[in-house]
Amino acid sequence: MNIVIKSLVIAGAISLMSGTALAAENCAVGKTVTDGVLTIGTGNPAYFPWVIDDNPESGQGFEAAVAYALADRMGFDADQVVWTRTTFDQAIQPGVKDYDINMQQYSITEERRQTIDFSSPYYTSAAAVLVRKPAVEAGAQPNIASLKGLKWGAAAGTTANELINSLIDPEPQTLLYDDNADITEALKSNQIDAVLLDLPSALFTAAVLLDDGVVLGQFPSDATGELDQFGAVLEKGNPLLECVDTALAEMGADGTLASIEARWLQSETGVPVIE
C-alpha cells in the first residue's frame, strides 16, 4: 500500500515536471516560419564579439551562444537552428518575415515598438566613449564638459546618435556613418575625435582595429536608460514572443545569460565612469 502511494507520488511528480518542461518546449510548436526549425536572423556581416568570424553556426560569440541556448530552451536542437542574414531594414519592413527572431544588437525603444516586437532584453550594454591617443594627449577627459568640445561620430542606424545628443550635446556637428568599419576609418583619418559605441564593441575596436585606440570612459547605465538594452526583434504580434520571453526569463534566473556574458564579453572593469 505504502509503496503504491509512494510510486504514485513519484509518478505524479515526474509527470508534473515533464509537463512543465514540455509546456516550455511545446510553446513554439507551429509558431515558427518553418515547422520544427527556429530561423534566427543576424547581421551581414555579423560583428565580433557578438558572432565570432562571421560564423553564427559555430555558436561562438555572445549572440550566437545566446541564440543556441535560447533555441535549446524553446525545444530546438542545435541542428534545428537555421541562420539567415538580414539588414536592419529587412527586419522592420512590413510583410512576411523570413526569420522567427532577429538578434543583432537591436536596442529596445518605445518608438520602434510601434512597428516591431522586442523580446525582453538579453544584454544591457554600457555606452562607451572611444577615442585615439592624440585626443587624450590633447586633453580629452571622461567628463561631460570635456566631451562637449570633441567632434563626434556614430553609426547612423543605432541609438548612439540619440545618446550623444541627449547626454553630451556636443558643439561641433556629429558625423554619421553606415557601420563600425567606416567609423573606424574616420577616426583613423582624424575626421572625428570620439565615437559612442556599446562597451564590448568599443573595447574590441580599441584593441584590434586601431593602433592607438583608448576607451576613454563609459556612461553609467542609469544615464542611458532603456536605450542600450538589446532585445531580439520579432514581427509585430508574433505569438512566438511569449515563448522567447519565457525562455529568456529562465536563462536570466538560472545564470545562463550571465555565464555566456562572462565567457564572450570582456570584463568592464578598468574603464572609468563618466561624470
Binding site: 525603444t109 547612423a156 554619421l176
Partner: protein, 289 residues
C-alpha cells in the same frame, strides 16, 4: 513632298463638296470629344481601382503604418527640410567647379597640336576612369583616403574631399557632353575662322564654344539634375544631409515614412528642374527649324 500633297487635297475637296466638309468637321469634333471622354473615364477608373483595391490587400494596414504614417511624417519633415539645406550647399559649390573642370577636360581632349598629345591622353584616360568607377567608390576612396594621409584640420574635412570626389566624377560626364557639343559645330566654321586669321584658342573662344555650350545645355541640365540627387552620396563619409537624416529617423522609429518625406523634397526640386530642361530643349528645337 508630303506637305505639298496635303495642301493640295483640301483645296480640291473644298471644290467637290462644301457639305461633306462640314460633316467631316462635326465627325472630327465628335471623335475628339469621344477620346477625351475615354481618357477621362480610363484615368478615373485606374485611380479608383488603385484607391479601392490596394487597401484591400491583406498587408495594406502594415504597409500604411510603415510607409505612409502621417504622425511620423509630421514629426520628421521639418528636420528633413533643414537637412536638405546641406544638400543645396554641397550642390551650390560643386556645380560651378564641375562646369569649369569639365570644360577644361573637354578642351584638353580637343587639343590638336601634336605637342599637346600628353594633355589629350590625360583627358581621355581621366574620362575613361572616372566615368567607369561608381561615384560612391570615388567618394569613399577620396573622402577617407586623402584625409588618411595625415592632413590637419580643417583640411581633412569630409565636406571638402567628398565634394572633390563629386567634382572629379561629374566633370568626366560633363566633359563628354561638352566634347559632343564642340564636335557638333561644323568643321567649315573652323576653316572660316582660320581664313579670317583667328588663332586656335580664339576660334574656340569666340566661334565654337558659344555655340557648343548652348547646344548641349539641355544635356547638361540632365547632369545637374542627377548631381542634385547624388550629393546625397556624401552622407556615406559622415555629413548628415537629407538622406542620412531620413535614415536616422527610419532607424529611430523603425518606420520608412521619413524616406517618403525625403523623396518629396527631392521631387520638389527635380521636377521643376526637369520641366525647365524640357522647355529649354523645346525652345532650341524651335530655333533650329
Amino acid at each position: 513632298m508630303s506637305k505639298d500633297m496635303q495642301t493640295g487635297t483640301p483645296a480640291a475637296s473644298e471644290k467637290v463638296a462644301g457639305f461633306s466638309k462640314q460633316a467631316r468637321q462635326q465627325r472630327e469634333i465628335r471623335l475628339r470629344r469621344r477620346s477625351t471622354l475615354i481618357a477621362t473615364v480610363s484615368t478615373i477608373s485606374v485611380f479608383l481601382a488603385i484607391y479601392i483595391l490596394v487597401p484591400m490587400a491583406p498587408g495594406w494596414e502594415k504597409v500604411q503604418h510603415s510607409f505612409f504614417n502621417w504622425e511620423i511624417f509630421e514629426k520628421t519633415f521639418p528636420t528633413l527640410l533643414n537637412a536638405f539645406l546641406l544638400d543645396i550647399a554641397i550642390f551650390a559649390w560643386s556645380a560651378p567647379l564641375i562646369a569649369i573642370w569639365g570644360l577644361a577636360l573637354a578642351l584638353a581632349r580637343d587639343a590638336r597640336s601634336p605637342a599637346l598629345f600628353p594633355l589629350r591622353l590625360f583627358a581621355t584616360v581621366y574620362n575613361d576612369i572616372f566615368r567607369g568607377v561608381p561615384v560612391i567608390l570615388t567618394i569613399y576612396l577620396i573622402g577617407f583616403g586623402i584625409p588618411g594621409l595625415g592632413l590637419p584640420r580643417p583640411w581633412n574635412s569630409p565636406y571638402i574631399w567628398g565634394s572633390v570626389a563629386l567634382v572629379l566624377s561629374y566633370s568626366a560626364y560633363v566633359a563628354e557632353v561638352y566634347r559632343a557639343g564642340i564636335e557638333s559645330i561644323h568643321e567649315s566654321q573652323r576653316a572660316a575662322a582660320k581664313s579670317l586669321g583667328l588663332s586656335h584658342w580664339d576660334t574656340m573662344r569666340f566661334i565654337i564654344l558659344p555655340q557648343a555650350v548652348r547646344r548641349v545645355l539641355p544635356a547638361n541640365m540632365n547632369n545637374l539634375i542627377s548631381l542634385q540627387k547624388d550629393v546625397a552620396l556624401l552622407s556615406f563619409i559622415g555629413p548628415v544631409e537629407l538622406l542620412r537624416q531620413a535614415g536616422v529617423f527610419k532607424s529611430f522609429y523603425a518606420n520608412f515614412t521619413p524616406y517618403l518625406g525625403a523623396a518629396l523634397i527631392f521631387l520638389a526640386v527635380t521636377i521643376p528642374a526637369t520641366r525647365f530642361a524640357d522647355s529649354l530643349m523645346a525652345r532650341q528645337d524651335k530655333e533650329r527649324r
